[in-house]
């Protein structure tokens, strides 16, 4: 109750200017099936403010050029903008700029570690610890490493409440553990994981830690140095940036020791017919023409997020979580997965709607029906099959919010849930 009072107070000071924000996102004016779009699929990819879209056009219209070592004006400008984006992202995350490698998405960032570090360092008998809550992108790369090297994968289980079950962490993190690969926030449950405990355990046995930040960094203020992880993978397109951009953030010493991943132009110090010497990181890991417009777009996204303030965004999402949990609780025969409350929850909600015969309305039906009302949600396994099995379902419906969503969007969601049940079950 006190907490609620405090929240209310902060509301007046910190809460977002929703009108201004929705004006910034051109797509939110879009009509779908004759209704104003209600976009509840930001966990898949976020929408982009015009500030981001404009910077991309501006790049192509004014100074597009390959940044690598060009000495003409355009190339100088594009190099500056590209490297400026790196520095800016590093500042946003309080990470060293030479620890930021741009990739095409979060998945590539994780695979980079799997190929350049894990495959080169780990041997039969070593262990990697994943979690049952993780996205396929933070499981498959390790399964592939395991298949190639004999490394064993173990998984942190998930509790009924949708939390990582750390009760047996001592048995899971042992002298054999070389890497803990864990998501910072679940793309399904919205759960914000117990990174502190996990990183501490890993440290105690000398294991490295990779945090999948795809769902964390867009929603929660993150300080890479304070966090103490070795690697942080992020998805630029989920934090208002364009498609085609992600990043691996790493301790520079680690990058220094790692072999390159993709080989090619731009990462060569010297090359003879016999072999090559690499330039220093992060460029060692950016072979080929870089994702220039994408990095510039991401920089504009970071500027936008920072102007609003990650704390304010977090506050806003807590408010949405509070409101949604309260409203969901009123719905009968409704299964929400993950119930840790606003402090441990991003504004991402996965659920199933009972069909009043003991079954559920298939999420694909829910998704299509919601679409007819203008609501964009996602339905399926959300690239988290182990988590689906954990909750004994094949799929879930997911509504995921971001800074441009408001309580009235939650109202529309709740209304749609009722309507969907009526439509499909007839009652």
């Amino acid at each position: 109750m006190t907490e609620n009072l405090v929240n209310r107070k902060e509301a007046r000071i910190k809460y977002l200017d929703q009108d201004k924000i929705s004006r910034d996102f051109p797509i939110l004016k879009r009509k779908v099936k004759g209704r104003r779009l209600v976009y509840l699929d930001s966990a898949a990819t976020s929408q982009k403010p015009r500030q981001v879209i404009q910077k991309i056009s501006e790049y192509y219209e004014r100074y597009n050029a390959n940044p690598h070592r060009g000495i003409h004006t355009l190339s100088g400008e594009s190099t500056e903008a590209y490297e400026g984006a790196r520095t800016r992202l590093a500042r946003f995350l309080n990470a060293p700029a030479n620890g930021v490698v741009f990739t095409k998405n979060c998945t590539e960032a994780i695979n980079l570690v799997a190929y350049s570090w894990a495959r080169r360092r780990l041997v039969d008998g070593d262990e990697i610890l994943c979690t049952v809550m993780d996205h396929h992108s933070n499981i498959v790369p390790w399964q592939m490493v395991a298949a190639d090297t004999g490394v064993k994968l173990r998984y942190v289980p998930v509790t009924d409440e949708g939390d990582l079950d750390l009760s047996k962490l001592d048995e899971l993190v042992t002298g054999k553990t070389r890497l803990v690969a864990v998501t910072g926030a679940s793309n399904v449950l919205g759960t914000i994981t117990q990174l502190e405990s996990l990183i501490e355990s890993a440290r105690a046995v000398g294991a490295l830690v990779l945090v999948d930040g795809a769902q964390l960094v867009p929603h929660v203020p993150v300080d890479f140095k304070a966090m103490g992880a070795d690697f942080l993978a992020i998805a630029g397109h989920k934090m208002l940036g364009p498609t085609g951009i992600g990043a691996l953030v790493a301790r520079p010493e680690l990058l220094e020791e790692m072999e390159p991943f993709l080989g090619g132009g731009g990462m060569i110090l010297d090359l003879t017919l016999e072999g090559s010497k690499w330039i220093e990181p992060p460029w060692k890991f950016e072979a080929g023409t870089p994702v220039v417009a994408e990095a510039i777009g991401l920089r504009a996204a970071v500027d936008y997020l920072d102007e609003i303030g990650m704390e304010a965004i977090r506050q806003h999402e807590k408010k949405l979580v509070n409101y949604a949990l309260r409203e969901f609780a009123k719905i009968e025969d409704f299964h929400l997965y993950g119930e840790l409350g606003p402090e441990r929850h991003t504004a991402t909600f996965s659920f199933n709607i009972g069909d009043s015969r003991g079954g559920i309305i298939h999420p694909h039906d829910v998704g299509t029906y919601f679409d007819s009302l203008g609501l964009a949600i996602r339905a399926g396994h959300h690239c988290a099959k182990p988590l689906m099995r954990r909750f004994k379902v094949v799929s879930m419906s997911r509504a995921s919010c971001y800074l441009y969503n408001s309580e009235s969007d939650i109202d529309k969601l709740v209304d749609a849930i009722h309507k969907a049940r009526k439509f499909f079950t007839g009652v």
Partner: protein
């Protein structure tokens, strides 16, 4: 993509009151299971054939969306009593209908599946039961 084309009243009716759900255990001589791991649809089809190659009995158990369930319900109703080659022809017609290559006229409830063609992601759901039937008909145990 028109929502109403997809969820026609007939579809919803079959979904809400599915026909030919298997009861009991050993429900047929031919048994085929199909699944679509992408969306979690799962269907097992049980079928008995007459000596003269007609479908004597057919029932199914399914987990899936309204489209896959109603399609299974509609399919089982439509093919009971058909000869193998008639059923195979019908399967092909439905398949082509789903891909927008033909219009299914005079096919009874099957016509209601027509709207699915406009929703490419849902075509697999609608075809699940029909592909299972195709497998069942081609199964070597068919004559038993």
């Amino acid at each position: 993509m028109e929502f109403e084309d997809l969820y026609q009243e007939i579809i919803l009716d079959h979904y809400r009151k599915p026909r030919n759900i298997c009861e009991g255990d050993d429900t047929g001589h031919i048994c085929v299971k199909h699944e679509n791991p992408l969306c979690g649809d799962e269907l097992s089809l049980h079928m008995k054939m007459n000596r003269n190659d007609t479908i004597k009995d057919i029932c199914y158990r399914a987990r899936g969306c309204s489209i896959s369930i109603s399609s299974a319900s509609i399919m089982t109703e439509a093919v009971k009593g058909l000869k193998k080659n008639e059923a195979m022809e019908l399967i092909e017609t439905v398949r082509r209908m789903m891909h927008g290559e033909v219009v299914g006229d005079g096919l009874g409830d099957i016509e209601a599946l027509q709207g699915v063609a406009k929703f490419p992601v849902r075509v697999k759901c609608a075809l699940l039961a029909w592909m299972a039937l195709k497998d069942a008909l081609q199964s070597p145990y068919r004559q038993r």
